[in-house]
Amino acid sequence: MMNCHEAHKLVIQAQDTRLPFVRRIGLRFHLLICKACAAFERQMAFLRAACRSFPGGED
């Protein structure tokens, strides 16, 4: 069972590549039961969304 330290690195890696099957399943499972890492994953998704929407509308 992976811990949060391992999980957060995989969350970031998953932003840039498709994780190997076993790690992907391991991470999914961890995120199901770990609220802190699930929140971290949402933060990373938000960073991406923020980049996509920058610089927003006109000032």
Partner: protein
């Protein structure tokens, strides 16, 4: 939007475009050049646009290509070729307890859509981006703003894949920390507007 309105509307979008280019190139002259080329492309394209938002989207897409071109050209200059190996992915280990659990669990960042609609958020986000060391920022922005794949970035900048991963990791962790402190930590600072 009528064809003859395009130059005027494009000129009004200039500050927005400059902001986008400046952040990524960190070089005033290069940013001006890229924006100028994008504006020129819009005026001479013969395209018609459904409105201002469509024009902005189109201009940003052109600008992205101009920025990638600029990075490609300058990556061949030795001065910025290497991304420093000034750290690894253990920088943030202090966030975790010895047993691998979070020492300080990540907070909820609330409703993403509402945050992104707040103009002041984009200012804070920009400031956090500017705080990233230049080389880290470059890799991160090539990935997230210009939409390049990691393999392409490594190749363009002649850095190893491992180095690329580490740099992206550090960029994301630093940005997260910066936003937590300067925006989400002050909640409901953003939400009260």
């Amino acid at each position: 939007m009528e064809r003859e309105d395009i130059p005027g509307e494009a000129a009004r979008l200039r500050p927005t475009l400059l902001r986008f280019a400046r952040l990524q190139l960190r070089n005033e002259a290069a940013a001006e050049d890229a924006v100028q080329e994008a504006l020129l492309a819009a005026v001479t394209s013969g395209e018609s646009f459904a409105g201002k938002a469509a024009l902005q989207t189109w201009l940003i897409a052109i600008l992205r290509n101009k920025i990638v071109d600029h990075i490609r050209r300058s990556a061949r200059e030795p001065s910025i070729q290497a991304v420093d190996d000034d750290g690894d992915d253990t920088d943030f280990d202090a966030l975790f307890a010895a047993d691998g659990h979070w020492a300080d669990a990540p907070a909820s960042w609330g409703n993403p859509q509402r945050t992104l609609e707040n103009k002041r958020f984009h200012d804070v986000f920009e400031a956090c981006m500017e705080l990233l060391p230049e080389k880290i920022a470059r890799v991160f922005m090539m990935r997230e703003f210009l939409g390049l794949e990691t393999e392409e970035i490594c190749k363009e900048l002649s850095i190893s894949t491992t180095n690329c991963w580490v740099v992206l990791y550090r960029a994301r962790m630093r940005l997260r920390e910066c936003l937590q402190i300067n925006w989400f930590g002050n909640e409901p600072g953003g939400a009260t507007v």
